[in-house]
Symmetry: C2
Subunit: 201 residues, 2 copies
């Protein structure tokens, strides 16, 4: 005995999503049954059109419904600063802070030969082209602090090969609000190494 | 700055599901972008047809794609035993055990005057009709152990008013595999009260 076919299908679809197990998939599918028709229609149609509608910006490779995204089109942003990130999601995360006023470049991953990700698989060539064509003066690397992240940062730094461009990477350290008991050794080491002076006699 | 409209819509839809917060909704919607077109099409179309396709069985009120569900149509099941449950999900849970061979009756909730759920809002009338028409001899109540569950059990027991029908409810006690340190007092009290004799000298 199982659920009706259509319900099973919805459960199956949910199960394929990351972090969703059998029980959760069941709970979500059953919750959908309680939705009104209008909500279900919106859910279904937006899922259906997701891949057609959501494209990657031709310049920065972030998400966009048009060929070129709003940030790339925005003339009020600093035109000479590029924030290099791994995924379009990172762009949203940084935009939420609200303080960064430059533009972005999405790599679409990190260099990871083990996982078959070589520099050519990332948007590094378009990054180098932009640096030249858009007279970029500053590059901020916002990459995961991992071997892959460091490799990618190193590769990009070497490729840029222009002493006039400032390349920086975000600070790694103890997160705000964290319980010191649970900070791992490597993070603590980084935090110590990158300490900032708060008073000097 | 936000995600493209369609992506936001999908995130919003996920956010309305129980237990899904902002961050998880975002993660799920982004995961959908990685699905191939075929999977997205199945997801979208099964969600769209969910409410049309998944009906309630006219006899037992469990889920069914037809007017009458497979269990009600099954002539090999014990015809005189009814397991009374709260939701169609409970039917699936009990079917998974595989030992119960009777039929079901789904109440669609419990009596709860505080939440505006009166006996008339539940499938109690059809239950009483079935008991008469189908010559039911045994009723097994599988209801949440709560005030509402007890009230509903009491109400149904009074309504049946036929000394020849055996009415039972499931055992409440310490779950298998549970850590005794975490069992609440009420459950432990129930477990003690309903203890079973394992040897008698």
């Amino acid at each position: 005995m199982k659920y009706p076919e259509t319900l099973n299908q919805v459960i199956d679809c949910f199960k394929h999503l990351p972090g969703i197990g059998e029980k959760t998939a069941e709970r979500l599918a059953l919750a959908l049954l309680e939705y009104d028709d209008n909500m279900l229609e919106i859910f279904s149609s937006s899922v259906a059109s997701l891949k057609q509608k959501v494209k990657q910006c031709e310049i920065c490779h972030s998400f966009s419904e048009n060929n070129i995204c709003d940030i790339c089109l925005d003339k009020n942003r600093e035109q000479n600063t590029l924030c290099v990130v791994e995924t379009p999601k990172d762009v949203i995360s940084i935009e939420r802070i609200g303080t960064y006023k430059g533009k972005y470049h999405v790599l679409d991953g990190l260099i990871s030969p083990v996982n078959g990700k070589n520099p050519d698989d990332l948007n590094i060539k378009t990054l180098l082209d932009r640096i030249k064509n858009e007279q970029i003066k500053e590059i901020i690397l916002v990459l995961t602090p991992s071997i892959e992240g460091e490799t990618t940062a190193l590769y990009i730094t070497k490729k840029i090969d222009d002493k006039n461009i400032i390349i920086s990477k975000i600070a790694h350290g103890v997160p705000i609000g964290a319980n010191m008991d649970y900070i791992d050794t490597l993070t603590l080491e980084m935090a110590l190494e990158n300490r900032t002076v708060i008073s000097r006699s």
